[in-house]
Symmetry: none
Subunit: 202 residues, 4 copies
């Protein structure tokens, strides 16, 4: 007598026209800014809609769930950071060490604006989603590449360990984006020292 409701879409409708694509971008931008400012839980879907200039119904057409919205944001962010880190790994192969240390800091600083929203989403306790793991994993791989380029003689375990620390240094530097020159100088020194690896290598 009773009948199960039909399957629900898990992904929002892909926008098929230019207008839709623009709208999706606007929504992601608005959501990113709001999440960065106030955290995942504190932001309401209504606010996201308002800030992006979309009606609440339109927002839900593309992102049928708050979590899906966060996931999409994380995916977009992941693409950007991966491109950034790929470039970084390349530079690790071509630049002399000190120049590369500076480049590393520059990349981290350039990344900073995106960072806030991304971090909030990654740290958010709920939204377990595999998105987070995937992102973390791809970043780690890039940092391993980088370390391997900088220091080709290292065994895989050392590479892993140093890559992990380098990953954290990346975040650390990004967290200091707004600071004065003095701090940045310290950071460059910190990174250069780490890459040169005197202490741990000896």
């Amino acid at each position: 007598m009773s009948a199960p409701a039909p399957e629900k879409l898990v992904e929002g409708a892909e926008p098929k026209r230019l207008r839709g694509h623009l709208r999706v971008q606007a929504i992601l931008d608005a959501a990113g800014a709001l999440f960065a400012e106030r955290g995942y839980d504190a932001v309401t879907m209504t606010e996201v809609a308002a800030r992006s200039g979309a009606a609440i119904g339109s927002l839900y057409r593309f992102f049928p769930t708050k979590e899906v919205l966060a996931d999409a944001l994380l995916r977009r962010y992941g693409e950007r950071i991966d491109a950034e880190l790929a470039a970084l790994a390349d530079e690790a192969a071509t630049l002399p060490l000190d120049a590369f240390a500076d480049a590393f800091v520059d990349h981290a600083l350039a990344w900073a604006p995106d960072r806030a929203a991304a971090l909030v989403l990654i740290e958010a306790r709920h939204m377990a989603g595999p998105q987070r793991e995937r992102l973390r994993e791809s970043m780690r791989a890039r940092f391993c590449e980088t370390i391997a380029h900088v220091n080709p003689a290292l065994g895989p375990d050392r590479v892993e360990a140093k890559a992990r620390v380098l990953h954290q240094l990346f975040k650390l530097v990004a967290a200091n984006a707004g600071e004065g020159a003095a701090v940045l100088r310290e950071l460059r020194a910190l990174v250069a020292g780490f890459l040169r690896g005197r202490a741990a290598d000896g």
Copy 2:
């Protein structure tokens, strides 16, 4: 329901005040654990009350607002971390540099358990409270002390800058509490290198 108060051990004078104190501690413990597990927004006052064995009305008698509760938690946490950092600053004055670098890492790792709840609260974007600033400020002061002890020749600006980076290194190390020996070795090297300050000093 409430923690059994050892009423007879005291002079019978202030059983209520003592009970109240214990209850406050229980509430703070419960809140700290829950915030660490699930984040500030996701935890309900009712849950805090239940986990601490207090009635919701009692919880509100002590902490008239969720934000006040978070603030109190942050204050308690601030006292602990300040003691820890004070000890660290002392060691900076007495230990040789390499030994101190190890001590620094040890302190950071020891701090890690507390860290989770505190971090959740500090990062929570909305709760503006002055508590955060005050905590940050006191931590920074301790790190300045530490740097000054390690490197007495530095001018105040350099001290400021290095203290800021040291602060972040503290968090970075704490974030690696669960990692293997290889990573820890890298971290010790990183900290030692930073404190020695070769690159930036030259």
Copy 3:
């Protein structure tokens, strides 16, 4: 890192004080009336709350879900109808056939007011709940008893079949509660004829 939210109550809080019991009754009455008037889907929880004089939050304290509310209503209704049908079965054993036919009609008519809400809930396509099956089953059992009393010579299959039809006649009569004497006379004749069972027995 992430933690699952604690289990949610499936049953609403049992009222522990008189006030609470009265409130629960008021809510069930309001819900019953509204469901009967306008159907399950068309009634909003806010309306139920308003009509029962409770705040929406209070409604949800006792009935954490619209479905739970419907289930509770069905349970209450089930208790009443079972008492009614038990009495009917007793009368089947003691009254002469024609008198019993009249009693049957009277019982069905007496039941009519409750009927509307119950029927709406039983027919509702969603809310699969076992409540429905259980209710249907217990009613069927009572009608089997009744038939067995009226006509002790019947085999179990005949009893089943006649019980099923009797069940439907019960609903049919109840559906005519507001009609004039002429219709009621026809109904009494219909029931008497069915119980006497001339045609089918011969």
Copy 4:
């Protein structure tokens, strides 16, 4: 997307009108099936559009409101049932009583499939529409005809009363479409008994 219209079979004059007609039929079919499966409220206009192969905009061109759609469905259903009942009334005039009782049951069973969607719509409390009344009225008239044919001696009041009960018996039988032979035999006996009208006539 739309059902392939046999455009060439017509004189080429009104391909649109034909297409529209087919589309309307498809929509009504889809809506009927969905309403029967899941109830009026639970079915969305978007689903109806999807199942009928029409765009949501087209659906609204033909049926400017969900209620209008339900009404149209009810009207179509009314036409069918009226034809059925007219045939039944004819048979009442020509068949001997027992044969007619069987025919009555057969007609009711044949009608059962349509019944589901119609019943859902008729029972739906909100949709007040005059459609329901009109349908009920025309059915009653047919049942009056039938009763008059079966029992020409009855006065108009008796006819009214018996017609009303016959109407309900029609629904009762239809509700047992899926049941076993034993139940059907009881139903035939019930109907025959009622038509013969021993008890009430005496």
